[in-house]
Symmetry: C2
Subunit: 430 residues, 2 copies
Amino acid sequence: MKTTIAKLSEHVGEEVTIGAWLRNKRSSGKIAFLQLRDGTGFVQGVVVKSDVPEEVFQTAKNMTQETSLYVTGKVVEDSRSSFGYEIQVSNVEVIHAATDYPITPKEHGTEFLMDNRHLWLRSQKQHAVMKIRNEIIRATYEYFHENGYTKIDPPILTGSSAEGTTELFHTKYFEEEAYLSQSGQLYMEAAAMAFNKVFSFGPTFRAEKSKTRRHLIEFWMIEPEMAFVEHAESLEIQENYISHLVASVLKNCKLDLEILGRDTAKLAKVTAPFPRITYDKAIELLKEKGFDDIEWGEDFGAPHETAIAESFDKPVFITHYPAAIKAFYMKPDPNREDVVLCADLIAPEGYGEIIGGSQRIDDLELMEKRYEEHNLTSDAYNWYLELRKYGSVPHSGFGLGLERTVAWLSGVEHVRETIPFPRLLNRLYP
Amino acid sequence: MKTTIAKLSEHVGEEVTIGAWLRNKRSSGKIAFLQLRDGTGFVQGVVVKSDVPEEVFQTAKNMTQETSLYVTGKVVEDSRSSFGYEIQVSNVEVIHAATDYPITPKEHGTEFLMDNRHLWLRSQKQHAVMKIRNEIIRATYEYFHENGYTKIDPPILTGSSAEGTTELFHTKYFEEEAYLSQSGQLYMEAAAMAFNKVFSFGPTFRAEKSKTRRHLIEFWMIEPEMAFVEHAESLEIQENYISHLVASVLKNCKLDLEILGRDTAKLAKVTAPFPRITYDKAIELLKEKGFDDIEWGEDFGAPHETAIAESFDKPVFITHYPAAIKAFYMKPDPNREDVVLCADLIAPEGYGEIIGGSQRIDDLELMEKRYEEHNLTSDAYNWYLELRKYGSVPHSGFGLGLERTVAWLSGVEHVRETIPFPRLLNRLYP
Ligand SMILES: [Mg+2]
Ligand SMILES: [Mg+2]
């Protein structure tokens, strides 16, 4: 019976065959322990010299790291192993003998591992991070589809950019000039007027020369947009969605979290509702904590976000930022024009901002004023203005950065380990 | 109770409020029929003059197309309507009065509609196509996640391209030159060695100056790749996946298919297994049908694919193409070196190729030979070669074009209507 490691629990007591790779082994004259992986999981294969033909034992004993093989044997429960099962090997058939696999069990430098990212992904920790990423993706589709959202794919190639062009990648588009999108939001607003509740989930691009542990050049964003939803309801949607992600990872990635040594008690606290503080209060809080490098009207840096997050054991919404430091399309607070109906969601434990969102301006005249202030007079932006012309409605939306969320839930330091093939300043390979 | 049109069935007999837009109306002196949409569905609101305050009736009667409003009323079943329900309106509150909405119930030209794509998406047929697209996306994640696949996102920005650079978009990547990916497959092969069964689902780009009804510049692809899976098993996976998509759309998009006038009897026949014919047989079949413009060794054009598809009422796999007209990484048939273990899946009804796939070369020496033949000697391709060096295993994969699949299942003629904001030669707006 051909199967995979992930399905061994269905075959206890049976003889199975799995395709696998050898991660590591140890052996004596009488027994060989094979550490196997097949991509779906990890398991130990035990080869007892006296139970198998001599050439099978010799083959098992002499296999090199990352050799591919078909292993046949009986599945038994093994309560000592975190994998839960073991294979009592009766046969080993080498598919391809690997020699000099570059990533050995010893320590390697980050640049070396990044150069070998196509192989590094096979290692246990990188595998665990990608399984958590996969679960976040799965749970995202589950959440939005179960809640009646339509997936809408905004274009990547755009002929215009509302947020300045210096941090954008350019490309020639036949006779025109195009840019790679760094947010699909404006398109998602058009889609919300057609489909009510929509979400996008795709790659975005920022040609930013920054080298922090929170930045990637190419990263994935989830951007929901909801018609007839105002600021307060949007925050409720956000906290419910994040709670769903955390609960899904806790439930379905137990072994991955264990492999990564993640403190799951901290994640278990992340249940809706989340605390909300205004930007005003956040500034006060920072002053109390002794920060004298920030004044009302300035944006927070990573140290500020971390200090604010430390006061809470859940993600915290910072709301009502000054209009001047936020995007042109955010709706002013009707009670106070100098702040906008927006919120950033700051993750605990120093992982920084994972969501930015707001209610959008729905008034045509105010949007026309913003167009003038921001010089958006080119025909390229007509279509976005028209959303306020033909049946404008209150609407809100937000953007979640996938890689920062993976970093937070996995507990990894740097976002470069949260995407299969990271694109960084000076890294376009592999 | 605030709700949406999609949820009216849960509120029969109750008074509800929905946010909506006016699609169309007709009225007499005593009654007004409002055709409403809210993005989740369509419903008729009935306003009886004698049942509501005079100003409510006047407001309802005078509303213009695409005006946004809150409608309050009682939900009643209506078996005459394909939507199933009707609202007996007690109040209407205009949110924003639209004037001169450009897309009227009369006929408009395609270029005009494409220029107004941000609004055209609100119309009933475009809405239906996007709901079918959404269902195909949902069912894709469902299929692959339920079958143990890990979602892996290959990079869009790449420093190299194995398939020539003329049809690629270029961009400056800081000090380097980068390309927009037209397939993530090579990366997915690396991922399959780490995760066993993987799939990608993201945008791809082809700077092709073609203007056919089957081509987009920016389109979405699903690219699964499976370790330890050989050609025959890969075809079974493909037919099961496609059958799942078709069954999901038939089950969950009934109204959308009806709005589009789709012949669902034809779709209902699409159940696994699908017929398989070799390239050799396909050439014979074309000769029998009188085609004299194709010889063994040449690739099929759209008319050939359509003619072959006409012989079957299900999608058909054409297998074992000549190696010379297929990609360098496809595995030769061990029994016959001039053909490869590949298949294209041709949709019925003239919708053309929706899948291309193959078993991949796993032998290092043969791949090195291909590298020489195709001049892939740059260091940029080392990593891909290394997959054959460290525990190479038999593996197969395929790529499904999302938009062609949407076109087929929706029954729309041109792929430009199958993506929210199409990118075409000369179309980068909106
Ligand atoms: Mg911020
Ligand atoms: Mg073809």
